[in-house]
Symmetry: C2
Subunit: 485 residues, 2 copies
């Protein structure tokens, strides 16, 4: 294992991180809030350690896929470790560093689960940083999509195919940079657009920007204790709903849209499955809460149900209604949607729509195979045929995802938390959603958990965000040092 | 599809069923209970319809695997339909036929979930029939193990291998009969042994026999409203615990034991995993309930924890303590054990230990593959290497099992049942266990469910008992009539 190269890149990342912290510093200076010193100190520490890393660790060897996985996992851990310094220095959580780490990991993994009981106590600089970690994390995910997902077979090859007919291996490396650029432009463009639209809805520039970060990264951190409900504006809810939906869509499809390739857009079966699922779930939940007489009109039910369905499915976690009060069916449906997550190539987390589709289709194919043992059934989604390598990877992901969900649930119940809290906190972190049910419900937070649980849940967010494999490969490598070569 | 042959075999089965009902009739006559007429009528109806079926449907064509699956599924449905007649005629559940069907399906699938609120009201003949359906179901499962499992790759080939070196295809057909005979002898032998041992513990012959049926089929129907707790005897608990454990073990291993092939026995990795799992789970739960000060001594905790762990894992469902009162960790652990189930080739239900082992190993192998893309990792359990065909089948089973569990949970929550009741009733029926948590907890029953839910849960028991595929192939065939050929 080329550890030198791995640590060198961590150094570069820390330098980028320290530069990123200049933005919250600027806000702190503008608003004259009392966190200027703390932010400056965090910037300095990250910068110095980052530079030290790049000076100490040098390597020219080319990187192999497994090193790519490890760089990504460690990258997120380093970002959370150093990104939490402003919280620590300001004493947001007293001297509990684990709370700082949890909050920052929740930010960078775009989960949005918070251990803050009152957001109002945060000074503007740190409040901005908290939301900005979402946006940076989302940008990282887009990079991940391009660099890691092709190895898992869930590739963004579609974009290459769309641009260059038959790319050769040599061409891929510069192509990755181009792809990244295009997707980042889309990400930044959508950021500007949503911020402006929210400001039209009479949000302040600061709030609009922070909520945009939370939306596009499918994060969910708000500047209000009541989340989006705090703004009490149908217009704002609709803007955020639309952008959550867009953030949960494959970004390559946005590129198709911009290029006017509507056919490529509408022919994407994952997008169809995702969109149809959202519509059906919204209608079912609207009816379910309508008939339980929770709100006065069906339109109100539709408003709350659709927002919560889109927010949970895209793994954003913004809240406009306390779904803890909803009937059991709606709550179970939301839990199931938590497992689905966004589309591949989106900033959404959890299993992802395509993996659910492939897993179910694979299982149903087995029934056909047993019925007609001599026939051959290939696994097709739209026009794309999935090969054995990719199917196995996806199905193994399904099993690993469920297993980690079960283990975390078991751990939390061991710590004494009730059954619904345990399993919903488990999926809400593993799927990078944020809110769950019971004690981690819509209007609750994660502050009451003990430190061990907070660490496990932080780790859960990391595993979920990095497509499980990245983190498990790191663990596997660390526990099998003999095989390192 | 050779429907004539399929219905002809159902006719034979109905004749066998009517003959089986002579046993409860004998008990009814012996005890002079008031259900002699009802049993006689049930016998007559089953016999007449059975004979009619064999006269009407005639076919000489050889059967194909898919017809085998359909025969099995329909066999259990017919058995439940006609086996419920004594309950109906006696009016055990007033005139609610669905309750009768649920109770009988629960018996034949060896689930042990009951809709009876007071077992005491049953006359001896019908009470015996209720437990006897377990024993018949268990016998059917052994047949299934030999006939169906080899098609899924989870074969009882080990027995052929042990007996005949290198069997040719022609030899398998007579061999199946021999295997079936051996395993049935073991089943009957264990029945005699447990009945005698329970009678030594001062159980009446009637109660001993009924509890033996419930144990060896991993069923769980008791003759006492308090289940095994009603006998309040450590000796009886230990006897039942041991036989539950044996019933959850692969019956081929019992054959090895009898033949003195101890090495073959102890080298079975599924058995090791199963046994080790039971020991660890028993100890963990003992400690968990000990530290929550529920019982006065650790030995009492060990007594209750080990019985409940073995009962739930083997999918029997006998109860000696109200685990609804246990801490959350113990309850979640029991739910996880419900998914594990017995060994392959046992009468135990649910996913089965070997499937859990293979699924997890398969998923972990994918991590290794991604770390070392050029290396080849085969999936081995002990000395046995699992091929692609079997792995895919097992993994698809995992996905289907989880999917059906989720769908049933969603349905029950839609009917208005709380989250814990919904998901525990779902797995308790799909895994053929019986008791779950909350409203279907240790000392509760399934009587309060509405009729639609009872039907869905009956169907769940059937799907779980017949290794999912059998039932889904039936459904697939019925909904794709064009492809019938």
């Amino acid at each position: 294992m080329n550890w030198k190269a791995i640590f060198r890149i961590q150094g570069v990342l820390l330098i980028v991180l320290s530069i990123s912290m200049l933005f919250p510093l600027a806000f702190a200076i503008y608003y004259r809030s009392d966190d200027i010193e703390e932010l400056s100190l965090s910037i300095l520490i990250s910068l110095v350690i980052g530079i030290l890393f790049t000076l100490i660790f040098k390597s020219d060897k080319p990187l192999r896929p497994r090193e790519g996985f490890i760089i990504v996992s460690m990258g997120w851990i380093f970002a959370a470790l150093f990104g939490s310094l402003p919280f620590l220095f300001y004493g947001v959580f007293g001297n509990n560093y684990i709370d700082c780490f949890f909050e920052t990991m929740s930010g960078f993994t775009t989960t949005g689960a918070t251990v803050l009981t009152d957001i109002g106590i945060l000074p503007k600089g740190i409040l901005f940083w908290r939301s900005f970690t979402h946006w940076l994390g989302g940008m990282g995910i887009i990079m991940l999509t391009i660099a890691i997902l092709p190895i898992l077979g869930l590739s963004s090859n579609q974009l290459y195919k769309a641009e260059v007919p038959g790319p050769t291996k040599d061409k891929i490396s510069p192509k990755i940079k181009d792809t990244a650029k295009i997707l980042w432009y889309i990400y930044i463009g959508m950021t500007v657009l949503e911020t402006v639209l929210l400001m039209i809805g009479k949000m302040s520039f600061f709030d609009a920007l922070c909520h945009t970060f939370g939306t596009l990264a499918t994060g969910g951190f708000s500047t209000s204790n009541k989340s989006v409900a705090g703004f009490n504006s149908l217009y704002i809810e609709i803007v955020i709903l639309i952008f959550m939906y867009l953030a949960g869509t494959n970004f390559i499809l946005h590129f198709f849209l911009i290029k006017g390739k509507f056919k490529d857009f509408f022919n994407n079966h994952e997008w169809r499955f995702y969109t149809l699922g959202l519509i059906i779930a919204s209608l079912l939940l609207s009816l379910n809460i309508y008939f339980s007489n929770l709100y006065d009109s069906f339109s109100t039910c539709l408003r709350y149900a659709s927002f919560q369905v889109v927010s949970i499915t895209t793994t954003t976690g913004f809240v406009t209604a306390d779904f803890e009060l909803w009937p059991y069916f709606s709550k179970i449906a939301l839990i199931i949607l938590m497992f689905m997550g966004g589309c591949s190539g989106s900033t959404g987390g959890s299993m992802k729509q395509i993996r659910v589709m492939v897993s179910l289709k694979f299982a149903l194919n087995e029934i056909k195979k047993l019925t007609y043992p001599r026939a051959f059934f290939s696994l097709k989604i739209g026009k794309e045929t999935f090969g054995d390598f990719v199917i196995k990877n996806i199905v193994a992901f399904f099993i690993l995802f469920v297993s980690i969900f079960v283990l975390t649930t078991l751990f939390l119940s061991f710590q004494g938390y009730d059954i619904v809290t345990s399993f919903s906190a488990s999926i809400a972190t593993l799927g990078n959603i944020g809110p769950g049910l019971s004690k981690v419900g819509a209007v609750e937070n994660y502050a009451f958990f003990d430190n061990a649980s907070k660490l496990v849940l932080s780790f859960n967010m990391l595993i979920g965000r990095l497509e499980i494999y990245s983190v498990l490969i790191l663990i596997y490598t660390l526990f099998n040092p003999k095989k390192l070569h």
